[in-house]
Point group: C3
Chain length 669, copies 3
């Protein structure tokens, strides 16, 4: 299966979610005219349209969608046609109360929002396949159809009897016999030993702390169950027309019970929704990380660099916990092109036109409540033109010498109750390492344990708590092949079932690192520990014994005074580093700069001044250098080549405008 059809013209795609079902046809025509004006060539339609496509069970009203697709086709715009299964119609909820989801407390959720179904309920599964089949039959060969967009942001769970039964079946498949399950979950603790499969249940509200193995497997089960809901639709869509690629859009965050890496093998195209939660420089850091994650998943699924797509992003407001933050002029363009720089095959917004009501009435849109006579629409139109000038770069090949490992299950396991500290956060530790490299100008790939590490001189494991034997072997092979390694606290402490590996932490990597950790000393949220390097540690500290490694940095003060904080060990040609605390941002940046340097990895563009993000991508025989100026001053970058957005020829240096972006087709390097 291939997504090539999406990029046969070599151009970047541009568009967003469009909901014509919310508007009368005259607005459709206005919208299509505005899309053309803005340079849009791909729109997602039908995401939540089930109740308009099948208003009563088995009665289909597809005429409006026929018209919409024809209208798009006539305008030269292609469609990512969604299956609407993330929002079953009211009639479904009324007819199948047993298919409504149940919380861990036993509360049955009701119609009134979206995603109110249990993906393990037979009635839901059947109805979802049904509407997908109807759409497949009708539109699989429609000339406007570019991509199937199955469902929306898979990510809900349920604790009902169907879910429990399915969980039990999944466990049976996974463990074969109860002894293995009892062993994996350490049910000898607190007398939870199972003697019959019927005793094994979903983790529900219970008296006190739950079993970590059960909690972890329930997440894994849901990832697989949601994935099977996806593949059931994918398979019938493929069957209707094998030439059309199929995907679903990922929602990010470790609250999501989805192992996106595992899913990446099942989608024809990795598609992510990205909404930064911060409004300052943090938004830029999050954007770079999200794009690198997506590129990593695309690589993981494909086994090689592959295009991916930013499927949703906000044309304007950033939602933080308590309010919406209006993006200042230029930020939307800058964030969009940062995704393109890191491999996205285009830019898609949620949403094209703001709804008049509904839960997300104040979510931002290209065409806002005000209309199209707005600075946002004008900026979007300019971005459309810019994307047109960047044709030919839709491959995922970004130059990166460092790999950062992450995995969904480690994130889930660190959230379990009973850990030595609240707030343990594997994705946060991954982000901290990525951010440190980003500020050092070093481009990284995000990898999942097991991914090929051919071009990576340095592998980072940031609080990668779980280590299956296969993961340990993968790390070991990297080091024995001469690859450098940096491991941070809590990595490898547990096995794949979240059982503690004995004999001293970090059980999985003690020998590779030449250390033995005797005790954890978690820090308070506001605690800062000085290090002999002049740096600062946060969140965590440990009693580290040297077992071959040499101390690089030590703790200052407290019971750990003088003991190693950071160590280095030699394993054949490789150097391995152990970092027993979380360096603060500046300390981490300095440490990783030095570790990368010793590994032979430097900044992508050493000449770029601070605040200018640089990403380099292969472009056939050439390279393209993306330069993103996050400062409020013009920045001069020594470089030579052809600037694609302006058409300018650059001989010695180019100046990137404040908050602006330049894309240089470099003279052959």
């Amino acid at each position: 299966m291939t997504t090539k059809g999406l990029w046969t013209d070599g151009r970047l795609r541009y568009g967003g979610d469009w909901n014509p079902e919310q508007w009368p046809p005259e607005v459709w025509r206005e919208d299509v005219a505005l899309m053309r004006a803005a340079g849009v060539d791909l729109v997602t339609v039908g995401v939540f349209a089930w109740s308009r496509l099948e208003p009563t069970p088995g009665r289909y009203t597809l005429d409006w969608l026929d018209q919409v697709l024809d209208l798009l086709h006539d305008a030269g715009i292609r469609a990512a046609l969604a299956t609407p299964t993330a929002s079953p119609p009211p009639w479904f909820s009324l007819a199948h109360p047993d298919a409504l989801p149940v919380t861990a407390d036993g509360v049955r959720l009701h119609h009134g929002s979206r995603d109110t179904y249990c993906a393990a309920a037979p009635a839901y599964r059947a109805a979802a396949r049904g509407i997908a089949q109807v759409l497949a039959a009708r539109y699989a060969h429609h000339p406007a159809l570019a991509l199937w967009h199955v469902h929306n942001e898979y990510g809900t769970t349920c604790h009902c009897a169907y879910a429990e039964t399915a969980f039990r079946r999944w466990l049976t498949d996974r463990y074969g016999d109860l002894d293995a399950l009892n062993d994996a979950w350490v049910t000898s603790f607190w007398g939870q030993h199972y003697t019959d499969w019927a005793q094994v249940a979903a983790p529900r509200a219970t008296q006190y702390l739950g079993n970590p193995g059960q909690l972890l497997d329930f997440r894994r089960f849901w990832s697989d169950t949601l994935l099977s809901a996806y593949t059931a639709q994918r398979d019938l869509l493929h069957a209707a027309n094998p030439a059309v690629p199929v995907t679903t859009n990922y929602v990010l965050g470790d609250w999501v019970p989805v192992d996106h890496a595992r899913w990446a093998r099942e989608v024809d195209l990795v598609a992510v929704d990205h909404y930064p939660s911060r409004t300052d420089r943090g938004a830029e850091e999050q954007t770079a990380l999200a794009a690198d994650l997506a590129r990593g998943w695309a690589r993981h699924g494909a086994g090689r660099p592959a295009p991916w797509l930013l499927m949703e992003s906000a044309p304007n407001q950033i939602h933080t916990a308590h309010r919406m933050h209006t993006k200042e002029p230029g930020r939307m363009t800058r964030n969009s092109l940062a995704h393109v720089a890191r491999g996205s095959g285009g830019v898609m917004f949620f949403q094209w036109r703001a709804p008049a009501g509904g839960a997300e009435r104040f979510h931002s849109a290209v065409v806002s409540h005000v209309g199209a006579d707005t600075r946002v629409f004008r900026e979007a139109s300019r971005l459309g033109a810019s994307l047109g000038r960047l044709a030919g770069t839709a491959s995922g090949a970004v130059e990166a010498g460092v790999a950062i490992a992450h995995d969904a299950a480690s994130g889930w396991a660190l959230r379990h109750p009973g850990m030595p500290r609240d707030g343990l956060d594997h994705p946060g530790e991954v982000a901290a390492a990525h951010r440190a490299l980003w500020h050092a100008g070093i481009t990284a790939d995000l990898v999942t344990p097991g991914d090929p590490l051919d071009g990576h001189r340095l592998l980072l494991l940031p609080a990668l708590y779980l280590a299956s034997d296969a993961t340990v072997d993968w790390v070991r092979r990297h080091v024995h092949a001469g690859g450098h390694l940096l491991v941070t606290w809590l990595s490898g402490v547990a096995d794949a079932h979240a059982r503690i590996r004995p004999g001293g932490y970090p059980g999985a990597y003690r020998d590779l690192l030449g250390v033995r950790v005797e005790e954890f000393h978690p820090l308070a949220d506001d605690e800062r520990v000085p290090l002999t390097s002049g740096g600062i540690g946060r969140i965590w500290s440990e009693t580290v014994h040297l077992a071959g490694a040499e101390p690089i940095t030590a703790y200052i003060g407290g019971v750990l005074d003088g003991r190693p904080a950071v160590t280095r060990h030699r394993v054949g040609d490789a150097r391995t580093w152990y970092v027993s605390t979380r360096p603060d941002d500046d300390t981490f940046r300095r440490l990783l700069t030095e570790v990368a340097r010793l590994a032979g990895v430097g900044p992508t563009c050493p000449e770029a001044p601070p605040g200018v993000e640089a990403v380099r991508r292969r472009d056939g025989d050439h390279t393209r250098l993306y330069l993103i100026n996050h400062t409020d001053r013009p920045q001069r970058v020594p470089a030579a080549g052809h600037e694609l957005l302006t058409g300018e020829l650059v001989a010695e240096a180019l100046t990137v405008a404040p908050g602006g972006v330049a894309v240089l087709r470099e003279a052959r390097r």
Copy 2:
């Protein structure tokens, strides 16, 4: 229907809630003697007495109430006789578990507190009518009976099947057909389109954000359902003796699912319970606002100035979120007379005697756990004497040149999830405007859209989010008649169904204001935006485009630097103002002082020094000037007339004691 009977003697009423059912008869006699000593002439009895009046179904034990009413009558004290329907007896809960309320999560609540019933449950409705009928039959002509006090603080909701069925019926009546409902609720968003009434449900716990239209209508439905519970009792009480007025006591706060303005048409007397939540100057501001709200509702129901009654207030402690605050000497008197100044026909306390146990054992009382040898009882007795000297003022006619519009539904809608900011608070914005005027010495009326605006030169709309077409028309008529208008941010952004009015904010009032708002910039809680006026904006800011208006004040700094914050427009003889941020208290006071001045409205008593609250009321041919000294020093006010509390004749000026009150019958003005 008229409440005249309550005030035929021209005297202010005085008393409170009395619960003789908690005590033996010897305490009754002691209480009545103490009441007489304190000047009490009206007491509320029976509020929570159902289980003592009907201890088992259909068996009535009314003798004690006979005795109590006779005892009161013999002592010259009249009764506000309550129907006890806010607290069904234990036997009712046991017999009718289906009439117990259910939360949105599906949790059935149980007996053990008060108000534990579903007002949509047939069994509850029947039982409530039943006990009311028994009381009507027995006491409708009792000579002590002055007023029927139906229920207590209507304000609870339920999500059970009865409630859901009733909601569906209410929606059918409101919308006629499903297309109208689908349109009003914008069900095309997230695929919530209904095709059968049976699919429409109460908003229950759901997966994610709920539908704003559904949430809003559920509140309206509950307001109407509770109202019908009230009118069912009212009608049978009226039928038993048309001469006795009927009311129920309002509890304030936008958590209450009651549209008090709408209810005002159905009560013979607006009666409010008021408990300030603040202990400092804020308590005085809240008192003035509550009294003005009550007067507005009384006016709304009556279509003209009408008396109202402070039905409950605390003789001592103020309850804040975390503790009770004992009122310092004089505060109780000052707060009580502030209500009288603003139109209350008397002062009623909750409660007369503190209970020995029960949930509110530490709620304050005139006769506390200590007894009557207390400073509180002595202050209450002095207040009784003072009220006697203020006879003849029980009409609602307070002089006010400014009207502040508010409505319950805007308050509810701003609390919905998915707004651009958390903490949006229509009553809070109304309070901010009222507070600004209060500090400026300007008396305001609180009005509901549609109310007559004959004497008001200036109308304020503070974050009046919803604007029905009728509301828009009402505002327009005011302006076209030469009335001035000041509109603050978010007003008129949505229609009556909380759908966004398109084309630029504030959709309803753009043309009247001569502005077009392109984008919202909600501020963080601790954010302060400087304005060119020297003032400060909080909570909110906007990109305002002038479309006829002139800029008055601009933002300083940030992306809005130099753009208009406050604008003024001319529409015929009227001036209209738009305020796109929330001025802080001082800024708002200065702005409204200036706007009122231009509208020809000044302070009630320009001579009153700062900290002295002044309210002027009509009193036949004379006026009465209430002067309330909130400072801790004596304050001299130039004035002439007859001071009613001391009997003193004032020639040039009078001095109001620290924390004291004076009431001047003014020489004819």
Copy 3:
């Protein structure tokens, strides 16, 4: 019944919870060897082993336990054999869903943690007796058996129909007729008057504030119900072998629905689990308090000084709200010996070996994940040796001249909603008084109302809110016998049913104290009130009228300026003190030092420098002086005798090492 068998050798016991069921036999043998190396002679086994002892209903697999007990016996280690009823097996939950607990909200809890049963459910009671009987039959005469350890930390409640029925039966027993219950609960408030026992229910989720009498009795009911679950097992264990003592381990905290004093009469040995929640000096204060509480309960149950046992403590980490805190070297030893000083007959840890998984995988252990080559194992071994040198002190006789009264029900009642302030905390007030004395070097006994007060010159009542008539009489007898008394705010305000005692606070003790309190003035959390003594009051203040007492200290500022804060009264030979605010720590220490001095009570060891805790115990004809140095410097204490840990003879003074402990067998005093 006697516990003498536990201490016939005069030696202190040492050990902890051991869970061989989590490990293969080769680990058992390693563990036993390590235990011997560490000086361990008592281990708790089987606490959560039900699912391994009875894997399916009625099928018992006891062989492994046979082997474990034999192995221990062979090694000279005795067993505290647990009944495993705190964690029913999965098969039990599956077979008896009706025996799973239900929250106040009606949420049924499920298997997956521990303690997931309703102790009022017949099926659970029967199953628990069943497994206990099996163990009794098999092991009652096993030579390794030293003690039966019933269940674990009784402390859960339930709101199911079984619980409700049992609650009703308990109430019927307590009150006899409904009139008494109506009276006790003041059901006349909010119309809660019951007319049939069937109407009386458990306190479930309700609309608003619940009834305080009902809430209090529900706690008492659960204490009694859990106690009957305990005694049912105890009786059958006793029947199997009357020579073996039976106990259960207490978990501390006023969230626990257990009146430990009442339980103390039913256990052969008071056993407590103690985990400080603080990491600084607060941990030492908490340790001293917990030990004194345990000693008080032991005395209460026995009617005379009696040994008790620290049944669980942490060999390493302290769990605070958000993280685990690793104990610095020496702290474990110091905390352990502080318990011994105050009467514990030994030191027991939870747990011996850290589990590989399960909810408490990071709970500390003597043998950690790392193994036994750790500083913790080495410290534990040294402690084992030290305990061996302290043989012969296992009696509860500690010298103390002050008694602090506390009772579980006052703690529960102050947590009820509707109190004048949030955060009222009887155990916290007890702790504050104890802490003040601890810092003054004065040793106190903790007593429960009714306990003999023979040797106590001074009795403290710290916020002892409830006062039954018997309690009042007990206090009165103490004072009339010449005992001094200090009462703090809120004490005696309510009777045993939490009804307010009328006529002025504190109703129960007004005459003894010579004061009458008219009004409460609760303070805000961050409020501090200066006193004329130079001290500071917190949390609470009051309007105190003198009625015979003399003022000692007055409030400064505010409405209470110049009014009494602390008073003193003379009753015969006794002095009685009333403290109407919570003195801050320093103020309280100074006040209690002075009050104790006047009562003739001084520090235990006046020569001990600050930071050195001193406890003196009878030891036959001698006394033992425990000196615990909580500072980080050596401390010299003038004293003479025989230091038991080092064997040194002390002539004039001994020096206690930083963070160290000395135990001096004193020359006859």
